[in-house]
Subunit: 168 residues, 2 copies
Amino acid sequence: MNIPVEPSQNPPLEHDHKKCVSEALDTAEQLCVVRGVQLTPIRHQVLELIWASHKAVKAYELLDRIKPQMDAAKPATIYRALDFLIEQGLIHRVESLNAFVGCNCSAHQHEQLLLICNNCQDVEERSAPKVMQALALEIKQADFIVHSKAIEIQGVCAKCTKTISDQS
Amino acid sequence: MNIPVEPSQNPPLEHDHKKCVSEALDTAEQLCVVRGVQLTPIRHQVLELIWASHKAVKAYELLDRIKPQMDAAKPATIYRALDFLIEQGLIHRVESLNAFVGCNCSAHQHEQLLLICNNCQDVEERSAPKVMQALALEIKQADFIVHSKAIEIQGVCAKCTKTISDQS
DNA sequence: ATGATGAGTGTTATAATATAACACTCACTT
DNA sequence: AAGTGAGTGTTATATTATAACACTCATCAT
């Protein structure tokens, strides 16, 4: 009666990704109901495709992936869905990659730090309260009014470092 | 014998922008000599164009602006110069705008926080040591190896806030 | 019921951003 | 004098994103 072991390619090592996805989609659905906005089939599908992994996905990759199910899909189809999902805080736009990744923090404060692995492409969200605190102070000192924040760190994640060093 | 008053459009309110530019270019020249790399005429010109303001400039804007002096300029001309300038830490790429801005911190630590004004488009660099410290700690806790950082805050700068409220 | 409205989508076209690939020059080396 | 590497010229093309306009359909006021 066990869920079969996943091929377990890249997504985080020991995590139940199905749960990950279903939780994200459930939360998204609930949030949209509460907010009185529509998570239409297209938007839902795009969100699901983004959550297929923890990697940042490009808009045109999404387009390719959605085409089998939606032959009519065009760039605007994707970009509109992405705009909606970003507005609702359901995904992050990864500015330094021109790509998109699922967001776990939609319900809470949406602004997080992104750790982007250049090896496996996984993006980890971290709320990093200390950083945000220091940042808020710095911004206040500059008399600056914030609209949005992008804090993106590129490098190599812990898993990849381990994997690489294990190979030697 | 005074320097004539500048039209003073947008660039920061009370600052001597000529000095700003000449210092930046001097520093760049010196750094390139020290490092044994070539700040060729094209690269110098692009750097100068970027320093024409404190706004983030798009690659194709640079292309348009360099054409009067360099009819042969093509996208590659600009992108190559930009690549060089970024490698040398002489400019920042502003990820959230796909644009470029002069960097004052080339000689020191290059990683800074960028405050991007959506009203006047000026970009302010801040070293924000407290933020960087907290960030370093957070990254260490995540066992992440950093290659590069982008910390970009969009909003309205102090000057614009003041100007706008003065109008009321 | 009727038609006005607005959100969402379909569709075509095009704008804006960025890179690949190959040829050429020129200074410097061997 | 040939070999090398950095920088540039040039053409073509890939990638990312938006504009503009038409259509559908549910909702709502008349």
